[in-house]
Amino acid sequence: MALLEFDDVSITYHSRGVDVPAVRGVTLSVAAGETLGIAGESGCGKSTLTSTVLRMQPKSATVTGEVRLNGRNVLTLPWGQVRALRWAEASMVFQGAMHALNPVQRVGDQLAEPLVLHNRVSASKAAVRVSELLEMVGLPARSARVYPHQLSGGQKQRVMIAMALACEPQLIVADEPTTALDVMVQAQVLDVLQGLVRELGVGLVFISHDLSVLSTTCDRIAVMYAGRVVEEGPAADVFDHPQHPYATALAGAFPRVGDTRYRYAPSGLPGDPPFPGDLPVGCPFHPRCPGAMDECRMAEPPLLQIGDRRSACLRVHSTGERS
C-alpha cells in the first residue's frame, strides 16, 4: 500500500456563480522513502491538489475522488482525526516559509508548539527535541533562542523544515521550498530534505516549477497543466527525454550551463496558461503547442500508460503504439 494516494481527485472552486475546475482527475501515489516531484506553472493546480492531503482546501471547494493517507480517505475522516493526523502523520513546508513564522515568538517556542499540542510532552522534553530538530536541519541548537528576523532566508526555511519534522511525520509536502533562495542555500536545503528521505524513510512530495531541481531530488516527476497530469515518469527520463511538449518546454526553460544549444538561445513558450474556468476545447495545451494537429482541437487526450511512463499527448500515444 502506498503511503499517499490521490485517486481520481478533482477539485472545483466556485467563484461568482462560475465553476472553476482547478484540478481534474489526478491519480498519483507516493511510497515511504520515495520522492514525488510535481511540476507546473502558477495556476496549474499543483498546490490546490496537495492542500487536500491535510484537508486544507478552502471550504467553498468541491472535492471528488479519494485522497488516501495510509489507506484512509482524508476527505471523509471526522475532523478530530484530521486534526490528529496534521503534523503527526503528514506535514507541510509552505511556499514563502519565511513569512509563515511568527515574528514576535522565539524560534524554539514555535518549534515546540506542535510537540506540546500533539505529543503532549513537557516543556523540558520539548526543549531537548527542539535542539535535536535544529541540528537535524543543520542549525546550531542556540538558534532556538532567536527571533525569525535574526535569521537569513535559508535559515528560516530550515526552521520551517524542522517544524514539519517535529512530530516525526511519515509524509512531508514541500511546496516550492527553495524558490526564493539562491543556489547555494537551495543546495543546502535540498541536502537536508534528501537526507530525511534517505535516513528517516519519509515520503516526500516536492512541488516546484523548476524541473531541473526536481530531477536532482525526486524519484518520479509528474508534470501538471491546466489541472491535469500530462506527463509522469522516472525523474531523469522526464527531465532528459520529456515526451509531452509542455514537459519539453519546462525542461528547456532551465538550460544546462555549457550546452551550446542554449547559448544566446533562451527557450520559452509563447502565450500564457489558460484560465481554469475557461479551458480551450480539446487538449488544453494546443493553443501553445508547437506540434498541434487537428485532432488535438477535438477532444482532450487521455493520460495513457506506455511502459513506466504516462503521457496525455496524441503524438506520444501514436509513436508509443507503433513501437
Partner: protein, 332 residues
Amino acid sequence: MSLDERRPAALEARGLEVAFRGRGGGGTAWAVDGVDLALGHGEIVALVGESGCGKTTLARALLGLQRPASGQVLVDGAPLGYRGKELKAYRRRAQLVLQDPTGALNPRHTVYEAVAEGLRVHGIVQDEEARVAEALSLAGLRPPERFYLRYPHELSGGQRQRVVIAGALVLKPDVIVADEPVSSLDASVRGEILALLLRLRDELGLSLLVVTHDLGLAWNIADRVAVMYLGRIVEQGPTEELLTHPRHPYTRALLSVVPEMQRLEPVVLAGEPPDPTNIPTGCRFHPRCPVVASGEAARLGIEERCRTGELEILTVSPQHTSACHLAINEGM
C-alpha cells in the same frame, strides 16, 4: 560584442566602495568593497553572486541611486555627477528593471499611465502616445492599443514584466540594469523575457547589466559574467570561458550546485556569506574555501597567503581575471 578598447565603456565602476553605517555602535558594512567593472556598449554582462554579496547595492550605485563612499561611476568615460539635475539627466539614459513586476507597478495605474510616467517625469510632452505605443511594441505587447487601458491585475506575470520593460524603454535609454528580471516568473515565461532582452540588445544596441544568482540565465544571454563575493568581483570573464573553465573556487562551488550540473561533484559551501561588517583578512573567501579546507592550499604552499596576503585581481587570460592565489599557480 565585447568590451571595445577604443571606446569608453557605457557604464563603469572604478574602485567603487559603498558603505552602510551600522546602527547603535554596529560596525560599518562594506557592501561594495572596491569594485572595478565595465559594461561595454551593446554588451550584456551578468553580475552573479549569493544573496547579500552586494550585487544589488552595486547595481544601485551604478544607477546613481546610492552614493559611493569612494571610487567613481563613469558614464561614457565621464564621472557621474550627483547634483539633482545631473542625476535626472542620467536617469533618462540608464533605467532599472526590478525583480517583481507586481510590486513595481502601481495597481491603480493603467498600462498606459505606467509606461507614460517616465515621459511625464522628464517633461516630454510631444508624441506621448506614439512613444508609449512604440515602447509597448518593442516590449512585445502588440498591438499596443489593446493594452493601454488594462490594469496590472488583468495581465499575466510575463505581460506585467513586459510593461515594466516598456516603462524603461520609453525614455530610449542606453543602459538597462535588470535586477533578477525573471526569477519571479513562471518557467515557460522566463525564456520569452530573456529572448526579449537579447532582442533589445541586438535591435537597439542597448547595454544590459543583469543582476542574478542564476547561472543558467547568464549562459542564456550574457556576453560576460562577473562573479561577486562579499562586496568584491572575484572573477570575471567571457561567459563561455568562465562558466566552462571557472578558475576561482567560489565560482566552481556556485557552478557545482546548479541542479543541471550533475556531472560535477557538488561542493555545498557551509553557512551564509560572511558579514560585510567583518571582512576576513587575506582572501575574503578563505574561511569557506574548499581548497583551503581540504589542505590543498597548504600542499601548494599558498595557504599562508590565502589567510593573510592581500589579494590582487589576477589575469588568467586577457579578458579573464580571478582574485585567487591559485590562479597564479595555475596560470603561470
